[in-house]
Subunit: 296 residues, 2 copies
């Protein structure tokens, strides 16, 4: 495993269809290689518009098997540019059985592993429970030539449990493809609170576990197919932080290829001064597997 890792995060707006979006990804992969990156992290469901703004069974046509055409496309880029690539696909596992799945291609193009999004949201404009069956592969890091990657997806980012389980299973780095944005009807103050909360909770996963975090978010406004709905202004602000939650790089709302240098050796030092894993009260944690601890 290299001690330092140069990561590139592709924050993009929707180009309209899979061909246009993949052309942009291919251009960014070439740029990432030129910049000396070893890792390329893509945003959630990068092939398409964010189709979960409505519940429409025709949208299942967008799903594809894994491995399948998009895995092959990403594998080709990985090989061509010697990049580990973390992508995010709409996986068709069987008729009527679909997942929100991250794929990891090693730098030789091999499919190193997949992660099926475990926590599935369902809010107005984010009707993911209609489309995605919750993952059944657990919180399992994926071994690659650059290290053991704890890949999680979007809504997972709000759950300290997910980050902790990845860390306990040996993840050296947490990576989040994500697609989160503002309801433009909210006040600027509420929008700022949401953006700050989103970044804070992920930086805290770095702190609590002593490992770096990369988060790659979609950007740009996408109208809803239902004209009475407000659409989503994806807020970008992809970022990388180190094992104390310290920001290393941050995008704004524009399209970006965000480059960040990650010192993987620092995690060892940080965990020595802050040995949180040593002192967990596992004898008193069984309540974490309960829905709620109702008063008796």
């Amino acid at each position: 495993m290299p001690k330092t890792l140069r990561a590139a995060l592709v924050q993009q707006d929707n180009k309209g269809d899979v061909t246009a979006n993949q052309a942009h990804i291919a251009a960014m992969a070439a740029q990432a290689q030129a910049a000396g990156a070893q890792l390329l992290l893509l945003q959630e469901l990068h092939n398409e518009r964010y189709f979960c703004q409505t519940e429409d069974s025709d949208c299942f046509d967008l799903a594809e098997p894994v491995p399948g055409p998009s895995t092959e496309f990403l594998a080709g880029l990985a090989r061509q540019h010697a990049l580990v690539i973390v992508g995010s696909l709409f996986e068709r596992r069987a008729a009527g059985l679909y997942h929100n799945t991250a794929v990891v291609l090693d730098s030789d193009g091999r499919l190193a592993g997949r992660y099926r999004k475990m926590h599935i949201p369902d809010d107005p404009g984010f009707y993911e429970k209609f489309y995605f069956t919750p993952g059944d592969l657990g919180f399992t890091p994926i071994q690659t030539s650059i290290g053991r990657l704890g890949v999680l997806v979007c809504w997972d980012q709000w759950y300290p449990e997910a980050a902790r389980l990845m860390a306990l299973a040996g993840a050296e780095l947490l990576l989040y493809p994500t697609a989160i944005g503002w309801d433009r009807q909210d006040t600027p103050e509420e929008q700022q609170r949401q953006l700050s909360a989103w970044q804070t909770v992920q930086r805290a996963h770095a702190v609590a576990n002593g490992i770096p975090v990369l988060s790659c978010n979609r950007t740009g406004f996408e109208p809803s197919p239902n004209p009475s709905d407000p659409g989503i202004a994806f807020w970008g602000h992809s970022f990388a932080c180190g094992p104390q939650g310290e920001l290393l790089a941050e995008a704004h709302t524009e399209e970006s290829l965000l480059i960040a240098d990650i010192d993987l050796a620092r995690s060892e030092q940080v965990r020595r001064i802050w040995p949180f894993l040593r002192d967990r009260r596992i004898d008193d944690y069984p309540g974490l597997t309960r829905r709620y601890l109702d008063p008796e």
Copy 2:
């Protein structure tokens, strides 16, 4: 339960002995009442210097039973000023059995409950494993006239598990008496990373659980009894944040009576837009009760 709550946090330096420290606390309680506060949160081990900088069995003389003299002192203040008071004491439970214990006095002076620090640190200058037996009362909120308080202490603040268990047990507010500071031999950059990580991880407990957080830290430099040790520059920066982690009030390094208005009704709204508790994958969380998930 009131919908809004005015909280007062007493961030102080060590005055030399219990009499002087308690005199300061009494003055702050009067000020807090004058400011309209209903809740007074004190810092960790507020009666004394932070004695854990060395391992010295004479320091067990500082411990006292709960209830005991300091509980009585705080109960008197609570009654006199109609304040719920959260204090932090060195509890002598039996010969050779001591705890780092938070006590909660309701506004009528009744001892509403106690919390024994569950996660015990041990680092150079913070030799707490020598002094404190880990708590055996679990993560149990304490019911008071102003709501159900999730009281945790210092090192607990780094553990998302502790915050989550308090929230699952119905805590409406998390409160941390704490004593954390800098090693002045660290670089300014490292000091800033530590302070920021400390605040980030606690604000994230607010975000992940949709409840406010109050954290009251010690301030001022305290030399070590061992002159070859660097001492600790407690960093203050006590703060209050709302259920999206948004800062409501923050002290600097000076002694402060920090006042914060907490809108307890907002938690309900925030949990409706961000229903994290709905989607926890409790079926896949049993690994959280393991020390580490060693590769098979």
